[in-house]
């Protein structure tokens, strides 16, 4: 039988959740026996090569590209999992949600301390993904099936969740593995 496929993505995140995934130590060898990695920064596959059983999403949606990637994951994955606080509630990037977008961009590219930008313009090339008005949690963009909170979620949480989902067992996390920080 063909191995189930896993895909992962880091949207508006810091890659900390991916680091936590790698932190499952030697169990990663067992994971490789259980699954095949598809589109993911782990193997640098850029496009989906087939239907995936599980999509792990790190980070929320701060720009247009994040939304496209997230929708692509929803389309290609049977189960979509929000991994970490940024995917679940926007996390640190969402600190800008109370500040008007124009003010954010002006501080970053024109008025901010240490900014050197003689043109005085905010970059606006079509190659740069358009920023959204605010940072959105993933489940406000597409349907998300499971949530693994934490900043990052402990390696054991990610491991327990993957094993449960791959073996069709209920995902029942013990008290110590549900943490928001």
């Amino acid at each position: 039988m063909e191995k189930p496929r896993i895909a992962t993505a880091s949207l508006a995140g810091c890659f900390g959740c991916h680091m936590s995934l790698l932190d499952i130590d030697d169990r990663i060898l067992k994971l490789i026996e259980l699954v095949e990695f598809d589109k993911s920064p782990v193997d640098d596959i850029k496009n989906f090569t087939g239907r995936c059983a599980i999509g792990l999403i790190e980070g929320g949606c701060c720009n247009e590209e994040n939304v496209h990637v997230l929708k692509d994951f929803r389309k290609n994955c049977d189960i979509l999992v929000s991994v970490g606080e940024c995917a679940i509630m926007g996390g640190l990037p969402a600190l800008r949600n109370g500040i008007p977008l124009k003010e954010c961009l002006e501080t970053a590219y024109i008025n901010g301390t240490g900014v050197y930008n003689p043109s005085g313009r905010i970059p606006n090339s079509e190659d740069i993904p358009l920023l959204l008005n605010k940072v959105y949690p993933c489940h406000e963009i597409v349907k998300v099936d499971y949530f693994l909170p934490g900043c990052p979620p402990p390696a054991d949480t990610i491991w327990e969740a993957c094993v449960a989902l791959l073996t069709n067992k209920p995902l029942d996390l013990p008290y110590e593995l549900i943490k928001y920080d």
Binding site: S82, E85, I88, M89, G90, G91, L92, A94, L95, N97, G98, K134, P137, H139, E140, V144, Y146, F147, L148, P149, C151, L173, Y175, E176, I178, K179, Y180, D181
Partner: protein, 235 residues
Amino acid sequence: MSETITFTIDGVEVKGKAGQTIMQAADGNGIYIPRLCYLEGCEPFASCRVCTVIVNGRPQAACTQPIAPGIVVENNSPEVTQIRKDIVEMMFVEGNHFCPFCDKSGNCELQAMAYRLGILAPKYPYLFPVCELDASHPYIFIDPNRCILCGRCVQASRDLDGKHVFDFVGRGPHKKIRVNAAVRLADTNLDITDKACDVCPVGAILKKGVGYAVPVGQRLYDKEPIGSDIESKAK
């Protein structure tokens, strides 16, 4: 000697004294009823509604509802747990609760309640309100982003400290905590020794200079769920 009253919580017969609330009687029997606004030593305020129990088929706040002979109280049923989850989830989306960098994380009663109820993510959309931090006081700061409007600081300042530093203004979604000065906390008579500085269940009123003192893993709710102290008293 006061009269003993017998009633049931989740089908188990318990005894309390006449005049007690359902919460007081449950505490005495080692049964934890979740709560956030309740503050020992003050009149129950019943603002948070997390202590909702179903009494003879009707939802009631356990912190204010007196016990009566033969009442049937549901505390741990799926229906009651769902009510509590909904309430706590609403508190999360109505504020800006950034647990990863909050000083109160691990010792926060709201966070601990969400852990205990097994909330992985709220089902409601986040509102991301705009709130202004007041760090004017030399020893205390107020971060309204994290406030759940429980009213503990209002009660503690008024009833325990005899000062009235905090109070509510506005109604409905516009309700806020305000300080008893034109603008700033620094212009009130709040002292760092006031009880009002110690009662906030979340990280909205915090002391400066003592954050992150306890390492992760050793904080109040890292290993044991909130309410374990009451449950350990069960006979």
